[in-house]
Subunit: 149 residues, 2 copies
């Protein structure tokens, strides 16, 4: 490689482009949804997923309180809604309604599936030991749905 | 979505397809390289990266001992070598030599950069608190190189 030093502030752009997902959480007023890309598989089975969620996100408090969420895999058809979900706070806006995302009942958790996603993973928080320091929630996928089409 | 239940053993295939990277480590005999896709950004700056490495990997011991590594971003031209690196153990094989990957000296760590990668991130292990339970190394990127072409 010809090599040029890259500012450390731009490193995230190299590692971030994994699958962008939507994460729903249940709330006392309404469910919320956020756009998320800081996640990694941690174990095959039972599937464990590490998700980094900033405490500045409305979903952080909802996830910590409810200890459940759904990870939805958007299709390219809803790419604009996915971007839009990442740019407003669920503290002020019913994002599912605003962006035309359809909540569907999950089997094992209170957070909704998203009808427009091609896969939905029902998760329970398995470990909060790294939440205070890194915002890292270890999630166990307890039920997985996929669109067979 | 039309929805079908997905076996939990296949969930990883939904979350894994982020950028596949190569991770080099220094060793007393020779450096090693492994193919890796279970990683996530954890902080913007200083950039923190969480990398899950099984204790069954040769790189696990090298990383734990040296506390340094380089994360290389392969180009499509070396896709076959990247796959091959993921299918043999560095305990038996000098993978860099076998697969024609060129080690280059890094600025701040003993692990080599990979000449064929378009970006190389020099990392120090910042936190081993989650290694025993999850194989999760928190890495701090201390120097980043990118090919300007």
């Amino acid at each position: 490689m010809a090599k040029r030093s890259l500012p450390l502030s731009r490193v995230y752009g190299l590692l971030e482009p994994g699958p962008v997902v939507l994460i729903t959480t249940a709330g006392s007023e309404r469910p919320n949804v956020m756009t998320q890309s800081w996640h990694t598989m941690m174990e095959f089975e039972p599937p464990l997923v590490g998700c980094v969620i900033s405490n500045r996100n409305h979903s952080f408090g909802l996830l910590r309180a409810s200890r459940e969420c759904v990870i939805g895999h958007p299709t390219v058809e809803i790419a604009e809604q996915v971007v839009a979900c990442g740019n407003v706070s669920g503290a002020e806006v019913d994002k599912l309604a605003r962006f035309g995302l359809t909540p569907k009942p999950a089997a094992l958790v209170a957070a909704p599936l998203i009808g427009e996603c091609y896969a939905n993973l029902e998760c329970r928080v398995a470990d909060t030991g790294m939440v205070a320091k890194y915002g890292l929630f270890v999630l166990e996928v307890i039920k997985a749905w996929i669109d067979p089409r």
